[in-house]
């Protein structure tokens, strides 16, 4: 199997879907001539031309809304946000139009569109450019939200998202674009709404999504050295949420820690913890722990910014807590 980067996997997904369906096109800031702010769209302008690879002005609300209008009139746009931080300017269009038009029209209108770009903490960027906004999208009925953590999942989920008849928000991460992984040559899709067990185990369930997956897997390896067998669930999709996989795992291990780089209040982690506590209450041997970013904006200083985010140490401590090892 070929080993490629996360950004190449996304690029392949877009390329393949544009080749497959002439109604698929991509628009956003710097997607064309510049080949993408993070080079995800590299080569697409040369291959598909200006009609289908469209450089926009810096107007997130406007071009996001134009994508939505194009979607309701028969196209399948991919809207690239340079980062989710800038998508805050477009939130009205995503929440009030993309997510609601099917509903407000009594099912007459469909909005097949993908909104994607980097989300979450990066490095040395302070508080406006280094934050996870996952909860904002996950909160909204009418949206689907995917957050793949490997090149394989990124390619398969983006292809599914492009073909989906509902609006899909995709959370990537700046620091993940260069991560590498195996991706098969032949075509495949990953269904939206299915979690993936990245490591089998029986003593404790560690649940995460997106960039923290690497940290969580590393912790699991270290726990194994201490004789603790952790199961690692990668949610991959936040909405719909694959509770079947989560609950089955917790019923096996009886212990759960949810790791999330969003803030704690109203976070994906806190909701997953609630769902487990409610559904698996009788089978839990300890209360569910969450490890999130600290409830503060991101500082610039590197030592401080690392202290804000989930770390191996914080995750290990939470595991120790649910195993009563303190």
């Amino acid at each position: 199997m070929a080993v490629i980067s996360y950004r190449e996997a996304l690029n392949q997904a877009i390329d393949e879907e544009m080749a497959r369906d002439e109604n698929v096109f991509i628009l956003g800031e710097e997607v064309g001539e510049y080949n993408g702010a993070y080079k995800v769209s590299r080569g697409l302008l040369a291959k598909y031309g200006e009609k289908r690879v469209i450089d926009t002005p810096i107007a997130e609300l406007g071009f996001t809304g134009i994508g939505i209008g194009a979607a309701i009139a028969g196209l399948r746009p991919i809207v690239e946000w340079m980062t989710h931080n800038f998508a805050i300017l477009a939130m009205d269009q995503v929440i009030n139009n993309a997510a609601k038009m099917r509903h407000m029209s009594g099912g007459q209108i469909k909005v097949p569109i993908v909104f994607r770009g980097p989300n979450g903490p990066a490095e040395y960027l302070s508080s406006q450019h280094s934050q996870s906004l996952a909860a904002f999208w996950m909160h909204v009925p009418g949206l689907k939200v995917v957050a793949p953590a490997t090149p394989y999942d990124a390619k398969g989920l983006l292809k599914s998202a492009i073909r989906d008849d509902d609006p899909v928000v995709m959370l990537e991460a700046e620091l993940m674009y260069s991560w590498e992984g195996e991706v098969p040559e032949e075509e495949y899709l990953i269904p939206i709404g299915k979690a993936d067990i990245k490591r089998q185990g029986k003593d404790v369930t560690l649940i995460t999504y997106s960039k923290p997956l690497r940290t969580v897997l590393s912790v699991a390896d270290k726990l194994a050295e201490r004789g603790i067998d952790a199961e690692v669930i990668d949610l991959r999709s936040l909405r719909p949420l694959d509770t079947d996989t989560i609950f089955a795992s917790v019923r096996k291990t009886h212990r759960a820690v949810v790791v999330d780089e969003a803030w704690p209040m109203g976070s994906p982690a806190s909701f997953v913890a609630y769902a487990i506590s409610r559904e698996c209450f009788d089978e839990l041997d300890a209360q569910v722990e969450i490890v999130t970013s600290e409830d503060v904006p991101m500082p610039y200083n590197h030592r401080l910014e690392l202290a804000v985010q989930p770390s191996e140490e914080k995750i290990s401590d939470a595991v120790a807590k649910v195993l009563y090892m303190e």
Binding site: G69, A71, A73, R102, H103, S105, G106, Q108, P141
Partner: protein, 336 residues
């Protein structure tokens, strides 16, 4: 009804006069009944009536071909929906919140939709429909359908960033769209001149090298002609901004007694009533007399009566429908 003559120069055929009159009168009667039903609490929530502004939707939509053209508007959408040919029954049923409504009772007054008739809403956030409509025009351009999109918004919405961002992109991408500012002069309770840097909205297109036009929004023929011109320009990939000066007789919504303006101002506009003006013109051309007008009024009143009866007799939506029309597949909704 009023007597002021229209200044229309273009020769229009007789059947068009009659259909414009019929459409405007249908909207007027429908809206008056909606107000009445609101008073009886059959209709709830926000209900923005189009009385006084009928010429704008009627004249402009008559100038397009809904087989390939599209209409997108904001929350004062009853008139546009009727002008697009939507059935008064499904509209009244939607106002009543019934399952037989165009949006199954989920949209209400602000969210009328009919994809088959190319009427794409019905948007409740001021100005948010402008980028969406620009995207619809983008799709027409992309697919080379030869169609245009008309998008309506008020004198309040024109100051939103959504408007300015859209015009810029429509221009750089040569989109077939006509932006129609329905300047009814009051953004809720705020007089438009108090909050605008310019007094002629059509000039705002100039910042984006988009031609601007102005129409008398109380004159259906003027709106028709100006829209036809604008559509011809837009079809060639040049977006146009058309300002229609008009006036709403009622408050911003049903809950607004409109105390911010004078009775004299309202009466002055009623003297230029769009229905009265067209009727006067048609009388001069011997196209209609009082008897024929009364017969038309009676016929339309019956249609609206039937719509009220239909809405009244229709079923409430079943509770389980709250989980429908959200995703292509129901499973995506969170339920423990």
């Amino acid at each position: 009804m009023g007597v002021k003559k229209t200044n229309s120069a273009k020769v229009l055929n007789d059947s068009l006069y009659m259909s414009l009159l019929e459409k405007m009168l249908l909207i007027r009667i429908f809206e008056e009944r909606a107000a009445q039903m609101y008073g009886l609490r059959k209709i709830g929530g926000f209900c923005h009536l189009y009385i006084g502004e009928e010429a704008v939707a009627t004249g402009s939509i008559a100038a397009i071909d809904l087989k390939k053209d599209y209409v997108v508007t904001a929350y004062r959408d009853h008139g546009h929906a009727l002008a697009c040919g939507m059935d008064p029954k499904v509209l009244m049923a939607e106002l009543f919140g019934k399952i037989t409504g165009c949006s199954h009772g989920k949209g209400g007054s602000m969210h009328f939709f009919d994809t088959e008739k190319h009427f794409l809403g019905g948007n409740g956030i001021v100005g948010a429909q402008i980028p969406v409509a620009t995207g619809v025009a983008f799709s027409q351009h992309y697919k080379e359908t030869g169609g245009v999109t008309l998008v309506y918004f008020g004198d309040g919405a024109i100051h939103q960033g959504a408007f300015h961002e859209s015009l810029n992109m429509a221009k750089i991408w040569n989109l077939p769209i006509v932006y129609i500012c329905e300047n009814n002069q009051w953004g809720m309770g705020t007089f438009w001149k108090k909050v605008s840097a310019v007094e002629d909205f059509y000039k705002m297109g100039a910042a984006y090298d988009i031609p601007g036009m102005q129409a008398d929004g109380m004159d259906v023929l003027d709106v028709y002609e100006k829209t036809a011109k604008a559509v011809d320009i837009a079809k060639n990939g040049q977006p146009v901004l058309l300002e229609a000066r008009t006036y709403r007789y009622k408050g911003h919504s049903m809950s607004d007694p409109a105390k911010y303006r004078t009775r004299e101002e309202l009466e002055a506009y009623k003297k230029q009533d769009p229905i009265g003006r067209l009727k006067t013109l048609m009388e001069e051309k011997n196209l209609i007399d009082d008897k024929a007008f009364d017969a038309l009024h009676k016929k339309l009143k019956k249609i609206v009566d039937a719509a009220v009866e239909f809405a009244e007799k229709s079923e409430e939506p079943a509770i389980h429908t709250i989980y429908e029309d959200i995703y292509a597949d129901k499973e995506a909704i969170w339920q423990l």
